[in-house]
Point group: C2
Chain length 580, copies 2
Amino acid sequence: MLTRMSSLFLRTLREDPADAEVPSHKLLVRAGYVRRVAPGVYSWLPLGLKVLRRIENIVREEMDAMGAQEIQFPALLPREPYEATNRWTEYGPNLFRLKDRKGGDYLLGPTHEELFTLAVKGEYSSYKDYPVILYQIQTKYRDEERPRAGILRGREFLMKDSYSFDLSDEGLSESYARHREAYIKIFGRLGLRYVIVAATSGAMGGSASEEFLAESETGEDTFVRGPGGYAANVEAVTTPAPPAESIEDKPAAVVHHTPDTPTIETLVDFLNAHTDRKFTAADTLKNVLLKTRQPGAEEWELLGVGVPGDREVDMKRLEASLEPAEVALLEDKDFAANPFLVKGYIGPEALQANGVRYLVDPRIVTGTAWVTGADKADHHVVDLVVGRDFTPDGTIEAAEVRAGDPSPDGTGVLEAARGIEIGHIFQLGRKYADAFALDALGPDSKPVRITMGSYGIGVSRLVAAIAEQSHDESGLIWPRSVAPYDVHVVVAGKSAELLEGGEAVAAELEAAGLQVILDDRKASPGVKFADAELIGVPTIVVVGRGLAEGKLEVKDRRTGERSEISREGAAEALAALVRG
Amino acid sequence: MLTRMSSLFLRTLREDPADAEVPSHKLLVRAGYVRRVAPGVYSWLPLGLKVLRRIENIVREEMDAMGAQEIQFPALLPREPYEATNRWTEYGPNLFRLKDRKGGDYLLGPTHEELFTLAVKGEYSSYKDYPVILYQIQTKYRDEERPRAGILRGREFLMKDSYSFDLSDEGLSESYARHREAYIKIFGRLGLRYVIVAATSGAMGGSASEEFLAESETGEDTFVRGPGGYAANVEAVTTPAPPAESIEDKPAAVVHHTPDTPTIETLVDFLNAHTDRKFTAADTLKNVLLKTRQPGAEEWELLGVGVPGDREVDMKRLEASLEPAEVALLEDKDFAANPFLVKGYIGPEALQANGVRYLVDPRIVTGTAWVTGADKADHHVVDLVVGRDFTPDGTIEAAEVRAGDPSPDGTGVLEAARGIEIGHIFQLGRKYADAFALDALGPDSKPVRITMGSYGIGVSRLVAAIAEQSHDESGLIWPRSVAPYDVHVVVAGKSAELLEGGEAVAAELEAAGLQVILDDRKASPGVKFADAELIGVPTIVVVGRGLAEGKLEVKDRRTGERSEISREGAAEALAALVRG
């Protein structure tokens, strides 16, 4: 059905919205695709809804093609299944919780592992029923601490989530591989530039895990990649441990009086000035004190984390390493309550003597010698050797990852980039099957515990991810596969002839099977061209002065290229262009 | 894409679910269309989701065809707009309310008048922008006191809601008429038997209001209709008032000692035995005491309601008349607090002497004489005349409506029937435009207050409404327009020949553009036939013994009629059948 701009529920804006920082947010609001209702909660206006539905349909087609079956769960969910997996608690303040009129506890589903597991348990019983892959495209809710960038990180959003149910680990690997392929097809059809990176599995448990990140400077996720093809979300980068060194040849540890050395830099300068050795920040061991709390627990526990002094602790990496526990920095009252913690001069000795768990960066291996705090104000110890003077309780991935770090696959050094998470696939394993005793009766009449995979695509977020990758200063530039219309017909003038000509061209394009928007407004050609650029339909057809000579102008929104085509046969020519 | 029952996520049940009372609920669960997650909260399994989507698409097509524009609002909504219209309070316990992590108040949208009004105010400003009709097909939430009948009255459900915005009352009438036409087309395409009845407008305010009720014995709504075409929801029936009578010729009111007359019946018997006149229950005036409370108010107010003694008070009619106020029956403590209320013997005199508002049935007109309570235990008064002995504060529609009552259009008497509300259209007027000052700048530069209409269709409820009207003892019988598949191919045997034959037939049907489900399971023909009947695809094709002779059996699910068709050309024949 032809859309006429004279009656379309659309008013474009000349100014960027005050709360918008990233291009997709600015442009989707200015071009009238979405409107804000509350923080992280948006309405979809006609153009936005069309793009959302086209993306949704591409996702659906590929999920159907891979043999997944579509179902739909409610968003309003009872507490009990989430209590059974402890996620009612683990989710913390990210979960929207509510009570019904009878006082029953409910939540707004942030992800549906529990429901899918129970659904399969409810219907299936025999090994002959498996494998099965189920999916839904459904509205989800997360009470984000910092909703941002419009629909890029919202609190109400549309997701495709699917789950595979297999009898064996091999089956799970197969289901995982099929999803990976389907995702490659989907993101390819959407025209996205993306990378597949190794990922952690977040609060959902499980093993193999990869994220699909749309490359974007404004993305929230930092990832790294090496020349040999290694790519990982920064949270998932594992630090290659250097070989252990011999302890025997190391000098004895010596405590130095190091006044006025509150920072690593001043410490290194002091040692270089007062000893005959040459130290760098990488020779120092920085101990950061934190506290952690397990989900549902009342008490916080102290945790010491040691990293080389030339690196910061990356809180997101640290949190990912400790998930699902909460992590917080120590406050003054914590230091006051633990007088053995000498702020600025904390060393392994006091931590371990006082039973504080102490985890170190993987680079801090046996035999390495470090400059670190001596647990006494204005004092540091030099040549404290791992395996001789202290033994950490384990390692932790907490130090920042930097461009130039060695790639874990040994092929060279890492480079860093940013991306938007658009998909996540991972092998959940038996966590949820265990929680609900999801078994199949095997051929030998013995129960077989089912193993699961979990696979998500952020459908509404994709609208913004595509817009991030595909725009210019004038506005949005939609790939043909998701554009709200195939062709934008602009009537460049107010005469009855031009308007009739525009209507006739639009009708022919429609008859040729194209989706058409016709700018039939009584506005100046300048206003209409600006709106066409802002809205971002890939092909713009101008019905203007040339019409009298049987000519139309065609503009490619992406390249800006203009060409003249004959009015006669225009529908066939444009249909061929649109269909590639 | 061909659906094979061997891998379809479907397990039919032989037994009715324990909590199901109505046929649609039993059958939709048994046939594996829906599953219960919590009271009034359901999951859609593959077959159910297909029917839901087909209905949704028919609704969308007709809304688009009438020129309405689709948008989508969030379900999670901030309190403020609903506070502005007082509905945050008025909705009472039917509203799901929740808080976000920062303590902000939110609700799950039960209906979106506020959001639509604000959206139009946000985009439009000139009279040239109007009229506009916007709609969404979106998940809604109501915390029903008694969710029932599966998806027929759920707490999470899918609705189409649209709103018209016009500059004038005439424009609103036109928008209303267009919706009425579109609804007639939609419900026609869905194959429903329905009536359009006059309705009250509920908590949403407004004037002209009609409901579309699917006729069904299990429906919650009672409606009446007269021989001349009058039809109304019982809540909306207006009682024709008889002509006023003369006061002069009435005998004086006399108080009688009437011991042992606790009921209308015993009172009438006593009077017929102890006086020389002949009384019936219709001569008595029954006074019912209630209390009402305005939304947001703390205090309850007493209310007396007088109805002819041969009729009960219909609480739903009473509540509809008093909306949005709450209504409750008096408790013992209320009688104790108001000693002038002599239970069983309440008359108009004590009510009015004590400032209790007193409303009566429209039949209780000036000049009519009544037997009623004398405000004294064991005493009644006879010949209490309206306009002489008491004057009510007004009339109220509170008495039950009965089959046989005169039709308000004067064409005869009413008959009663039951139905399921599937659509509601009404003229809201300026209530919401007033609340948000929605004005258009008129041609004379003066503001014009916009007038609105509100129009709903219960999309998920329609699945159940259709099932209620279209089933038999063996299962569901879908109209072709909404069936999950066009053809159900049953392989009636386990031989490789039959299975291959079934696959080939299914493939040809698919190639002919039909939606096909193939029962390729290793089950007995009896089990397969029973499942096919239960699932309710309108045309069943049996690939059985006849195949060897080039024959297929075709069964019409609704009529049970069987016929043999030639294997050759079967796809064309069936495609012709399906397309009517």
